[in-house]
Symmetry: C2
Subunit: 570 residues, 2 copies
């Protein structure tokens, strides 16, 4: 039976890599058979338990406590190993290749005034404070730390964006700036492809494969996993996309993220549609319907496909032309769409496509909860209604048979001066209304005439579904809608793309100062604060780096910390 000795260090801070190395060195001490050096959280305690190392005080350790547990052949050996802990920790500390180590970010910035980047990997609860200090010093931040509160992320990124600086992260695993990897990064050839990713190992796999395929990259910019959520609003992704669009060496852009929030998707894609570089987009697990007029956007569904398509595109020389319709001035930008569908799936596909164009769509059949219309009887901004939903059909025929409700709503929407376009589907066939044009055409003629009289920009688009053999006579229906002044489409996706382009400019783009291209184009000089191993890895890649000998403020005492913080502000 081995002897187990345990030491608990309350509320202590150690570099987690240092702890891992301490554990390895303890295992090499004479008589030691097993050792665990871990913070006292649930997963770690379970692991110590499995190894028979969770004894005595260790069971009561808190998440913020460091557990050092040693099993040895006899008690003396365990005690001797425990006694060496501080010596082993200090020995590591002196092996760095940097002679003098500043204690603060400010001192480091004075040592290396040209540094544009600060790598922050201190524990999560200290990370926002360190990042804020870096921004104050006008440095861009690579924020590796996780467990950073969402509100801190939002406030850091807003502050950065307003000052033309980037915050990559928190929980940003990787980036490559001008050939130098920050955090975890593969060694990748220099080349024409630039990347933006809310995904660490996603960026690593895609950059590695680009290299394996014989091509290379300009920069790979990480955003952190929460950046494209509605709360953060894709601040870093928008800035990074803009940087790569302005960076002349970048010929093809790859954008990788889990499916972003609807309004973030709309904003990113609106910017992307106006770009004159090909953009490969992997919203992992979600491929939007392809807009034939935005053929420079390439939606892919796997990480490997992203690399394959980007490399292929980087070899082609074709010029990208943005259709005039897409670029047109935002004359209707204060006007809204009202879509009145009888067909549920037609409404669904239309919403699916238009949510990539318009950031403020509402519906009684929402795809995301933020799109839900409070009252289906009252439209709001861009509204897409399925009038075949139960709420509209109790005790009345389906709107494919009976246009009463739809006509009422049509006139109501047309009377709203904020409405710029009304979209109606007309589904022909057996079982449907024998002559929909007879009811809809007079209404369309009336509202267009009324709008014309007052000089209002109002359009009506009809999506006509049917065949030439349907009992209603497709050709005659089509002609009558056209004669009434409506635009007629027979494809749901084409109709949606038309509407999307019509309202293209209604999604407001942020108005931040551009991030200086120098930050990514100059040779990287950086300040590292947190994990020492990142310093070693930056030096190995030939970057100039200063490591800060960081300790938690006030020895990790949070109450004292917040007092110090308040004193600093005043």
């Amino acid at each position: 039976m081995p002897e187990i000795k345990v030491e608990i260090r309350r509320g202590s801070y150690y570099d987690s890599v240092a702890l891992m190395q301490l554990q390895s060195e303890l295992l090499r001490q004479p008589g030691v058979t097993n050792a665990g050096v871990m913070m006292g959280n649930h997963a770690n305690k379970a692991l110590l338990q499995q190894n028979g190392l969770l004894t005595g005080d260790a069971q009561q350790a808190l998440e913020t406590d460091l557990i050092i547990s040693i099993a040895a052949n006899h008690a003396d050996a365990a005690d001797a190993a425990l006694a060496k802990v501080d010596e082993l920790l200090n020995r590591r500390r002196s092996t760095g290749d940097q002679d003098y180590r500043p204690k603060t970010l400010e001192a480091a910035a004075n040592m290396l005034p040209e540094a544009s980047w600060v790598l922050v990997s201190v524990p999560g609860r200290y990370a926002a404070g360190v990042a804020k200090e870096a921004l104050r010093l006008r440095k861009n931040v690579f924020l590796y730390s996780d467990n950073v509160p969402l509100e801190d992320e939002i406030s850091l990124k807003k502050h950065a964006a307003e000052n033309g600086l980037l915050v990559m992260g928190p929980d940003c695993g990787t980036a490559i700036i001008n050939g130098i990897g920050l955090g975890f990064a593969n060694k990748v050839r220099s080349g024409p492809i630039g990347l933006v990713g809310a995904s660490g190992t996603g960026l690593q796999q895609v950059t590695s494969r680009i290299h394996q395929l014989g091509s290379g990259i300009t920069h790979a910019l990480g955003t952190g996993g929460r950046d494209l959520s509605a709360a953060v609003g894709g601040i870093t992704a928008m800035q990074s996309l803009d940087l790569l669009l302005r960076d002349e060496s970048t010929k093809v852009i790859v954008l990788i993220s889990k499916p972003p929030a609807a309004e973030v998707t709309a904003r990113l894609l609106q910017r992307a549609r106006l770009a004159t570089k090909p953009i490969v987009i992997n919203f992992i697990g979600y491929s939007p319907v392809k807009d034939p007029t935005a053929s420079h956007l390439h939606f892919v569904s796997s990480l490997d496909e992203a690399a394959d398509v980007a490399v292929e595109l980087s070899k082609s020389k074709s010029k990208i032309k943005i259709p005039a319709e897409t670029k047109k001035a935002a004359s209707e930008s204060s006007l809204y769409l009202r879509a009145l569908f009888s067909g549920g799936t037609l409404a669904y596909e239309t919403l699916l496509i238009l949510q990539n164009y318009l950031s403020n769509i509402f519906s009684n059949v929402p795809l995301k909860k933020e799109q839900k219309l409070d009252d289906p009887l009252i439209s709001r901004e861009h509204t897409i209604l399925d009038l075949g939903e139960d709420e509209f059909t109790v005790g009345r025929p389906h709107p494919m048979l009976d246009n009463t409700l739809r006509l009422e709503r049509f006139h109501k929407e047309a009377a709203d001066p904020q409405v710029g376009l009304i979209l109606l589907d007309v589904v022909l066939g057996y079982g449907a209304h024998p002559d929909p044009a007879s009811e809809l055409v007079p209404a369309i003629e009336k509202v267009l005439k009324d709008a014309h009289k007052t000089g209002r920009a109002l359009e009506v688009t009809v999506l006509l579904v049917g065949t030439d053999e349907d009992p209603q006579d497709l050709a005659s229906q089509l002609e009558r809608f056209k004669a009434a002044g409506a635009r007629v489409e027979t494809s749901p996706s084409q109709a949606a793309f038309y509407v999307g382009r019509h309202f293209q400019n209604s999604t407001v783009q942020p108005n931040w100062p551009p991030v200086d291209l120098d930050f990514i184009q100059k040779p990287v000089q950086a300040i590292n604060i947190g994990l020492e191993s990142f310093q070693a890895s930056l030096s190995a890649q030939g970057a100039t780096v200063v490591h800060v000998d960081w300790r938690p403020p006030a020895g990790g005492n949070e109450k004292l910390m917040s007092i110090l913080e308040r004193i600093k502000k005043t």
Copy 2:
């Protein structure tokens, strides 16, 4: 000022098309300026309000009450019109082209014993009872009615499946059986494409476009919108897919649905992968990553693309070969995957792909809530873990640096006799562990040796991410993992497809008797119960149809109804 007269008919039942026609006829009565004939729900009352027709008793009308509201130049004219309501309703009733109308389904079945189909469009609360009676008479059901409770749908479909019958719906808008449209349907040329759809207007648009492109269809089978939910389990979709796979005239199959529940997707796609016909799949808004070994499955992202691809495929003559690996016997079907990832996005893409293969996956980073692992420390069935998640990394280095936790878990999983394959990612590059093979290879060798000794089928697959210029030496890492007996993949999607095929047969397929092909291959004979207009439309298409002169049982009195139901059962 017009005079408004209102009549309320409590708890009355009328065919909704009949009400629409009554309203039109009332508008033609002398002196009448406006008329509303509607059930008293919120939307309808709002509509009457807008027209100034919601006066007197009408305001208090319930959802089950019929409101007849008439505006006329003077009170006498309104009264006269109201007095004609019953006459107008009765006049309509006698204009049908069927001399004798049975009062019950059973009587109709006796009149038309060859009928295989019953179209049910009675109000939702009566629909399940009528459908049940149809199944009892061994008829397939086209259930147009909406507002049918979910538990009724489940019970009807289970009963039908166990008896080799189909229930399309509830809320099934369309179907085309052997050239005859049920419900709403376009007139579409006969041809080689068969369709299954949980979407009414989706099927209408795709069938119409197939016709416009010069091709045609065999059958279009609707399932109702809820069929592919976890609760219903895709019963009708599975039966319909199976029918079309057996139907020799169907050369290409199109499957349309909003993204199904994870386990339904897995079951449908498992069946589809083993098919020898090309299948075009539009899970609207969701395109899975393409498995190169299942090249007969074509994922598309819009309704029009579904039609375009299906028509293209129907012209090609190439034979489909199912890879032997996919067909292999279910020898490992009781064994499970355990995937231990260090990279979050690698875990995410793996889960995204494997959820289309395996119906019982759990994870600490679930894509759907039913995949959530209760305790990340305890694996369950197929488990995919991201060991880089916060719960595993508090106060310890990321698993890309430190394999301690991963090795413990690896040995634990390998010791579980239910485990058939362990998947590990190894991410090379700056910042990562300097030599992952040194830690992982001995562990892999040990567990494979132990498994070999006991004759257990255990495999280890390593997903290796990196470049040939990474400091760890990719080639040597790869060789060492191979030498240890692991399969090594360098593409996340290829690794996932390999695992998917390995466990292909672990998703249990239902064991129902096949639905008789005769039901769809014979000329359609049908019984119609509910909307009279569907009878007219079936007759116009040349189908033999008997209409049931249905009234709500017990005059719509629900209490009496349930007593009658109980008497019938005994």
